[in-house]
């Protein structure tokens, strides 16, 4: 699904002493099949922007079109929109509520009008997708699960509705390195099958570098750059101005260059870079 954002603006608590401009004149497009990273420092408007995509925040100024749905119209078909745009919040495990994992995962599908059998099948599929054993966890209380399992169950709760766009707000926050890896690999696997378009908010540039084909940089509610990770990490002015970090691959390439070893590769993930380095020394 294509998402078009045009001149979007948003102000919190307008006309009060607490007034705060969160978004200002944002225009960009997310194409079908993109994995888009949204980066920027805390308070730059990333979450506010993302909450627009499934109308959790209504458009104040500007336009957003998701697929065929115009979010700036007076009436928006929220059910269809939210079924199609799945959103995973930060620390999603804190939203689990039902008495069994299965009921929790089925909550979305049932709300979106799946029949009982369809919801059951969707829950089974989603739980297996996130790597939980359906027969083992389905009848457990979500509060009996371990932290990592809870997050997976919560992700399954979003995936079960089979969204065609998936919005992830810092999906790996608070996980150990292995947990992070697993979540991101899950996202990659999802892209191959279930969801066509993925939008990730992240502070971790390694994730952005490795998984995103496009990246949007926000600063104080303004769109600073709409580019590819490769180009972004070559623009030191933007990276330093917004206090973003470089991914490790870029850092390693620079350190090598300082020692006179130039790697002629735009590789941004570990495997490709190590192959490129190995190639350089073989030659």
């Amino acid at each position: 699904m294509r998402i078009e954002v045009k001149e979007l603006g948003f102000v919190y608590s307008p006309k009060s002493p607490f007034e705060k401009v969160a978004l200002d004149d944002i225009t960009f497009t997310v194409n079908e099949g993109d994995t888009l990273g949204i980066v920027g420092s805390t308070g730059s408007g990333k979450s506010t922007l993302c909450r627009h995509f499934n109308a959790l925040i209504r458009v104040q100024r500007g336009e957003i079109t998701v697929g065929e749905i115009r979010l700036h119209a007076k009436k928006v078909d929220l059910k269809t929109l939210r079924k199609n745009v799945g959103m995973l919040f930060q620390f999603p495990e804190y939203q689990l509520f039902a008495d069994t994992v299965k009921k929790d995962v089925e909550f979305g599908p049932l709300n979106f009008g799946f029949s009982a059998e369809e919801a059951d099948a969707a829950a089974r599929e989603a739980l297996e997708l996130v790597g939980l054993d359906f027969d083992e966890v389905a009848s457990k209380s979500p509060f009996e699960l371990s932290g990592g399992q809870m997050r997976r169950a919560a992700i399954a709760g979003v995936l079960a509705s089979r969204p065609s766009v998936l919005v992830l707000d810092e999906p790996t926050a608070g996980l150990d390195p292995r947990g992070k890896r697993e979540i991101l690999e899950l996202v990659t696997a999802l892209k191959a099958g279930v969801t066509g378009t993925v939008i990730i908010i992240s502070h971790n540039m390694d994730e952005i570098a490795e998984f995103c084909n496009r990246v949007v940089v926000l600063e104080n509610g303004k769109l600073l750059a709409d580019t590819t990770p490769d180009e972004l990490f070559n623009r030191s002015d933007i990276v330093e101005r917004t206090e973003l970090d470089y991914p490790h691959t870029v850092k390693i390439k620079r350190l090598l260059a300082e020692k006179g070893v130039f790697i002629d590769s735009s590789a941004l993930n570990a495997d490709e870079l190590s192959a490129a380095i190995a190639g350089r020394f073989k030659a």
């Binding site: 059910k79 939210r82 804190y94 939203q95 689990l96 039902a98 709300n111 979106f112 509705s161």
Partner: protein, 282 residues
């Protein structure tokens, strides 16, 4: 939900904002007494004048203060109508069965409504100009003498300030959880009462879970920093009684004197025009 203005502090740089919270608390009590002292319309006008001048020195838009009345609109209507219908007056205008509307009843219910409006407006000024923390600190300091009869004043104050501190956090949490469930297709604003109540379960359960988690973490954090309420604690923000507070007290005292004077018609000031201003003497 973001606009929830509990404690409804209104930031501004004004005379009243800078006053000592203790002085403000005492003055609010004095103000309440003043509002109850007022007998005739003229003294009510003095109370109103007091509210208006306090609002002006607080630099709070008068509309904001008037808005606070919205919260008690039903109480106002209820009080007004009850007093209007059941006041035992003499000059009957209209009567039916046990109910009669009298001139005295109209005047009395007008006064009651006016009193409530003034009370609410005056007391909201306290919460508009004083942060919840400052109010708690002020209360703790004022309740200090109760320590001698073994009232755990400090503990009460800590509980109060923690509760106040957590209101915005919990309200933000409600917001977040509601959004997350909405994203999964939950609808909170349609269906009957029972359906709506049931729809809130997916919000309430995670909310309670997280509230307990937070309470646990907070207790640990307090313990980890060896928190205890020893009597020798010092404060980061010292409260100081200043000239400003003296002025505030004097101003309020002046209004109280004015109200009492007008109540008793000390100067006979409005007698010459009593025929025109008869309303004020009733």
């Amino acid at each position: 939900m973001k606009d929830i203005s509990l404690g409804q502090f209104y930031p501004a740089d004004s005379f009243t904002h800078k006053m000592d919270p203790r002085a403000k608390l005492v003055l609010v009590v004095a103000f309440i007494v003043m509002a109850f002292l007022a007998k005739n319309f003229l003294s009510y006008f003095a109370v109103m004048l007091c509210v208006i001048s306090a609002t002006l020195v607080s630099r709070i838009p008068i509309l904001k203060v008037l808005k606070s009345i919205k919260a008690i609109i039903f109480i106002l209507i209820f009080t007004g109508i009850l007093n209007l219908l059941f006041y035992n007056g003499e000059t009957v205008l209209w009567s039916w069965w046990q109910i009669k509307i009298t001139v005295e009843g109209i005047i009395f219910s007008l006064k009651m409504v006016l009193r409530l409006v003034l009370l609410v407006m005056g007391t909201t000024l306290l919460t508009y100009t004083t942060t919840p923390t400052a109010i708690t600190d002020g209360m703790e300091s004022l309740m200090h003498p109760l320590k001698y009869i073994k009232v755990p004043v400090h503990d009460i104050a800590v509980i109060m300030s923690i509760a106040l501190r957590f209101i915005p956090i919990i309200s933000e949490e409600v917001d977040k959880i509601m959004m997350a469930q909405k994203a999964r297709g939950a609808a909170f604003d349609n269906g009957g009462l029972l359906k709506r109540a049931k729809a809130l379960l997916p919000v309430l359960i995670p909310l309670f879970v997280s509230a307990f988690r937070r309470a646990d973490e907070l207790a640990l954090a307090l313990d980890a920093r060896c928190y205890n309420a020893t009597p020798n604690r010092t404060r980061y923000k010292q409260m100081k009684f200043s000239l400003r507070d003296v002025l505030g007290v004097l101003g309020t005292a002046a209004f109280i004197v004015l109200v009492v004077a007008l109540n008793n018609n000390f100067w006979g000031a409005y007698e010459p025009v009593a025929s025109v201003w008869w309303l004020f003497s009733v």
